[in-house]
């Protein structure tokens, strides 16, 4: 697997697939029993390249006796910034991750989401070329996730290379130039999100409103109701016939969208295959 310069690369896989293990290997937190990896052309054992890397650990935890500003200042010191630079960068980062008002509170009083923000701030504090984020959205509320997405896009626009792991597929589909899918400790595919899951349509979904009436009864049976709307899935070839039928019943069409297989389905398929394989091995073993 190779991550190219300047791209946003999503590292996908279900829980326990080996995403964090791979990232820990890259960061020198654990050591490989076989194989090798390089970052920015240097072997991962070379600590000097950490100058150009930012890393957000999974469920990050920092010294809880420090405030957010102090912990960022501590990390900034390792990069050799002087006092004025450190102060400026720390304030800028706190603002960027929405913690400017909480910068002077000890981290022991922080929520999980706030710690995640501190983690993100320390990862990008030194303006690294490569940012590695392990589950950056976990523990965040929808607003926080949106903010993290914006930061990732901002980093991308600034020409940074970003590798992030996630099991939240919509994030990957939204942000990634390419994804790598890992399951059961093995890499199952690398490519654009579209190429991984295929672009073949799986039908059309029609969303509509429907007034009461005898003519509508048949349609109601085929559709599912959510709120005041109904939704109905039809094969591509049957779309026009279905629309005619809806028109005849006096339905008001809200939207017609193509149903594409999602990464989620790709995931489920992979996990399903793994389980089937594991079961087969178990049976043959017996």
């Amino acid at each position: 697997m190779q991550v190219e310069d300047g791209e946003v690369f999503g590292f996908l896989g279900p829980n326990g697939a080996g995403k964090s293990t791979t990232i820990k290997l890259l960061m020198g937190i654990i050591f490989p029993t076989a194989g090798s990896a390089q970052i920015l052309g240097k072997p991962v054992s070379d600590v000097s390249m950490h100058r150009d890397i930012g890393y957000l650990p999974e469920q990050p935890y920092f010294y809880d006796y420090l405030t957010a500003a102090e912990v960022l200042d501590y990390f900034a010191r390792f990069h050799g910034f002087n006092a004025a630079e450190r102060s400026e960068r720390v304030q800028k980062m706190l603002k960027k991750v929405g913690l400017e008002t909480a910068g002077k509170i000890q981290l022991r009083k922080y929520s999980k989401g706030m710690l995640q923000r501190v983690g993100l701030a320390q990862a990008i504090l030194h303006d690294p070329k490569l940012v590695i984020l392990d589950e950056p959205m976990s523990g965040l509320d929808p607003v926080g996730r949106r903010e993290v997405r914006d930061i990732i896009l901002e980093l991308k626009n600034a020409g940074k290379t970003i590798l992030f792991s996630t099991h939240i597929l919509s994030d990957a589909e939204m942000l990634c130039d390419r994804v790598g899918v890992i399951a059961g400790g093995k890499l199952r595919g690398v490519g654009t999100p579209g190429s991984i899951v295929g672009v073949k349509s799986a039908g059309m979904e029609v969303v509509f409103e429907l007034a009461d009436g005898a003519a509508a009864q048949k349609i109601r049976e085929k559709a599912t109701k959510s709120g005041t709307n109904y939704r109905m899935s039809v094969a591509d070839a049957e779309l026009y016939a279905a629309l005619e039928e809806l028109k005849g019943a006096g339905a008001k069409i809200i939207s017609v969208t193509q149903i594409k297989p999602t990464l989620e389905e790709f995931f489920m398929e992979l996990v399903g295959k793994d389980r089937a394989q594991a079961a087969a091995v178990e049976v043959s073993g017996q």
């Binding site: 000097s48 950490h50 890397i53 930012g54 890393y55 935890y61 010294y63 006796y65 390792f78 983690g119």
Partner: protein, 258 residues
């Protein structure tokens, strides 16, 4: 070097914020109570009692901090996973280890210096004067500090490859054994075989010799301590700490963190 100092500074700050230095309040109360009691009950031996008591308290409090905090220096960071973000910085693992060691030794230095100041105040209260000969107490305090540095190094070594509880037991065990190095070396008994005797003798050279640091008797009675012993103890501590920390660094550098 600067990266080691960054870690050391933060380790000191952690100790201060975790209220490690609060033990000084206990020491101060002990000194005040002792000075009052000793001043009332003894005639000629008040200084001996005061110095012995003070140095014992400095040593014991220091040992407790050195063992318990020393064991937690690295293991706590591994357990809480605070190390992950730190090691992602341009910092080598041995630098981190050395920084942690330096930070705790700095904490112990400040703590021991404060306690020594307390002891001198108590001596002043009891004797009504401090004379030049009392400087020997400072040498005794310096030896305690050297001993504590060695204990911290041992605690860190054990915490690199075993659980915190076992590391505390190992460090405590080595410390106690190190107090009887001379006896171990010159053990003459018909009860043990010559092979075992030889083994114990070899062991006595490997164990840290904590006996050399104990000059409490001399300090309490105002006897001078030879400069050669001060030099010997200083070099011995530096060498022994160097070896122990090097082994710890090798183990820690290869350790898979969870």
């Amino acid at each position: 070097m600067s990266r080691i100092l960054i870690v050391a500074r933060n380790t000191f700050r952690e100790a201060v914020r975790d209220r490690v230095l609060y033990n000084l309040v206990f020491f101060a109360l002990l000194m005040i109570a002792s000075a009052v009691v000793v001043g009332q009950i003894s005639m000629d031996i008040e200084t001996v009692v005061m110095v012995s008591l003070g140095l014992s308290a400095i040593s014991l409090i220091g040992l407790l901090i050195a063992v318990f905090t020393g064991v937690g220096l690295v293991s706590k960071e591994i357990d809480k996973r605070t190390l992950h973000a730190v090691l992602a910085k341009p910092l080598r693992r041995w630098e981190f280890l050395l920084g942690k060691f330096a930070g705790l030794v700095l904490t112990l230095t400040v703590n021991t210096a404060a306690m020594a100041a307390g002891l001198f105040l108590a001596m002043l209260f009891v004797k009504h004067s401090i004379v030049r000969g009392d400087a020997v107490v400072l040498v005794a305090v310096y030896f305690i500090l050297l001993k504590l540095a060695l204990v911290v190094a041992l605690a860190m070594l054990f915490s690199c490859f075993t659980s915190p509880l076992l590391a505390i037991l190992f460090t405590g065990g080595i410390y106690v054994a190190g107090l009887f190095v001379a006896q171990l070396r010159n053990l003459q008994s018909t009860q043990i075989t010559p092979q075992l005797q030889k083994l114990l003798s070899i062991l006595s050279f490997l164990l840290p010799n904590f006996e050399n640091y104990d000059v409490m008797g001399a300090a309490a009675h105002g006897r001078s301590i030879p400069a050669s012993l001060a030099l010997h103890n200083t070099l011995y501590t530096m060498l022994y700490c160097g070896i122990v920390l090097s082994v710890a660094a090798v183990i820690f550098s290869r350790k898979d963190l969870k």
